[in-house]
């Protein structure tokens, strides 16, 4: 069953069309890698899924429920969008950790704020917070950061920061986890740590969309690959097939640039 269905998404910035007729599906437990050259619209696509941009056309469905329909304003109400965002988790290219909170606080903050909306919050405040903290520590542990829970972002290396960002996104148990070039702001040496974490998430059948420039990684970890260029999907298919035997000339050209180095 498809967790996510994206149908005919289109997005303009002023006069420039950045996304054009984007459609794809994502199965539960699968990892989708999006590749493509700079400016091809990968980030914009992720941002549309997370309601950071509003598509001009198209629909977004999660578990067959219409989350967004460009033709139906009732799906775009500010108040509902906030909740709908929780279907998606987002790990930004530049981490965007909250600098004034420790690693643990970064991970737990949103859960704590959401808990306040629970009807039983007042009575069980202490228990709820204790549970949130326990979950947070467990998540950090899974990321190999058990001993860094009390550190502030600036006291962590780039790779550690990115792993905190992943834990933060996972804390809200999203249906689909999105990564925007999760290692591109990292030193090559630190890249490995983060990729290892994503790999293990894939092994645990986390549903993911990963925008990445690491071709080898995309090939090995992703189930599906989408190659975008100029705002359109040029090619999509099983990972090995797209990366090792691309059907399109444009895909071949793009991949050739990586072969050089």
């Amino acid at each position: 069953m498809a967790v996510l269905q994206v149908k005919n998404i289109e997005k303009h910035f002023g006069a420039t069309r950045v996304l054009e007729d984007i459609s794809f599906e994502l199965e539960q437990g699968q990892a989708l890698a999006i590749i493509g050259s700079s400016g091809s619209g990968k980030t914009t696509l992720l941002r549309c899924l997370n309601f950071l941009e509003t598509p001009d056309q198209g629909q977004i469905l999660v578990q067959d429920k219409v989350l967004f329909d460009a033709a139906d304003p009732s799906t775009q109400r500010e108040s509902e969008i906030r909740k709908k965002r929780l279907h998606f988790g987002m790990v930004f290219q530049s981490f965007n950790l909250f600098p004034q909170y420790t690693a643990l606080e970064n991970v737990t903050l949103a859960s704590q704020l959401l808990a306040r909306e629970r009807p039983d919050f007042k009575e069980k405040k202490k228990e709820i917070y204790a549970q949130i903290e326990k979950d947070g520590r467990e998540l950090l542990g899974r990321m190999g950061l058990a001993d860094r829970a009390g550190h502030y972002p600036h006291q962590l290396s780039g790779g550690q920061q990115q792993r905190v960002a992943i834990a933060r996104a996972l804390a809200l148990k999203p249906d689909i986890l999105c990564f925007d070039e999760p290692t591109s702001a990292l030193d090559p040496e630190l890249t490995g740590e983060v990729l290892k974490v994503i790999r293990s998430l894939a092994e645990q059948k986390t549903t993911m969309i990963i925008v990445t420039h690491e071709m080898a990684f995309a090939r090995d970890v992703a189930d599906q690959v989408i190659f975008m260029d100029g705002g359109v999907i040029v090619e999509q298919g099983p990972a090995r097939q797209v990366i090792e035997h691309p059907a399109q000339e444009r895909t071949r050209q793009f991949l050739a640039r990586y072969a050089e180095s």
């Binding site: 309601f51 950071l52 965002r85 929780l86 965007n96 950790l97 600098p99 004034q100 903050l109 600036h154």
Partner: protein, 213 residues
């Protein structure tokens, strides 16, 4: 007249400086925040008016603004004017709100957009994002420029003597009529002490906010 007496008299009039200082801080900070929201608003008329206000306030001498706030109402409608200290405080609040708003604007615009977006994708409300994510980062950013402005403010309070508020420098000069000149040079000490204190508090605040970057 003894050193003691001069000190007491200067001290008493320095209280007026302090009063203007604190009233201005108390009122110009929130007003400045409102103006800064105005000037970053996407609604052109509002941002236009806010920016014009800031431009006028920052382009003309505070001394003149004092004179206008105090004398203009009485000039147009004799007898209907504000008490001196009220007028002085009003002029200072209006003037400093403009300066503060620019600092707030810089602080708000300085927080990377990604911080807000990170809050959004975590399902936070706008209010939660402002209060739990942005606010402290804005404060950290504005403390240093605000510190400079605050030091300028306490010095500027002396301008109130232009509308005959007998603040410390006016008082010090008054001693000249008693053929005592040194109080005028000595008045600077009050500012040095006050600023020493402010500088100390500011650097403590900055240190406190130093735990994150």
């Amino acid at each position: 007249m003894s050193f003691q007496t001069v000190n007491v008299m200067l001290g008493k009039s320095f209280l007026l400086n302090c009063q203007i200082f604190f009233v201005t801080l108390l009122l110009a900070l929130p007003l400045g925040l409102i103006v800064s929201f105005g000037s970053i608003s996407r609604w052109k008329p509002l941002s236009g008016v806010s920016r014009l206000y800031v431009y006028l306030m920052r382009s003309t001498p505070l001394m003149l603004q004092l004179a206008i706030v105090y004398y203009l109402p009485g000039f147009l409608n004799p007898g209907h004017m504000l008490p001196r200290m009220t007028a002085a405080c009003l002029a200072f609040v209006l003037n400093y709100a403009a300066y503060f708003s620019e600092i707030f604007r810089g602080g708000i615009q300085g927080v990377p957009r990604g911080q807000q977006e990170a809050g959004q994708v975590l399902g936070m409300t706008k209010g939660q994002i402002f209060y739990h994510v942005t606010l402290l980062q804005v404060i950290k950013r504005i403390v240093p420029p605000m510190g400079n402005e605050i030091i300028t403010l306490i010095k500027d309070t002396s301008l109130a003597n232009f509308i005959m508020v007998k603040e410390v420098i006016a008082m010090a000069k008054e001693f000249g009529n008693k053929a005592m000149i040194w109080p005028l040079f000595y008045a600077g000490v009050f500012f040095l002490v006050f600023n020493g204190l402010v500088t100390f508090l500011l650097s403590r605040t900055e240190k406190k906010l130093d735990y994150f970057r």
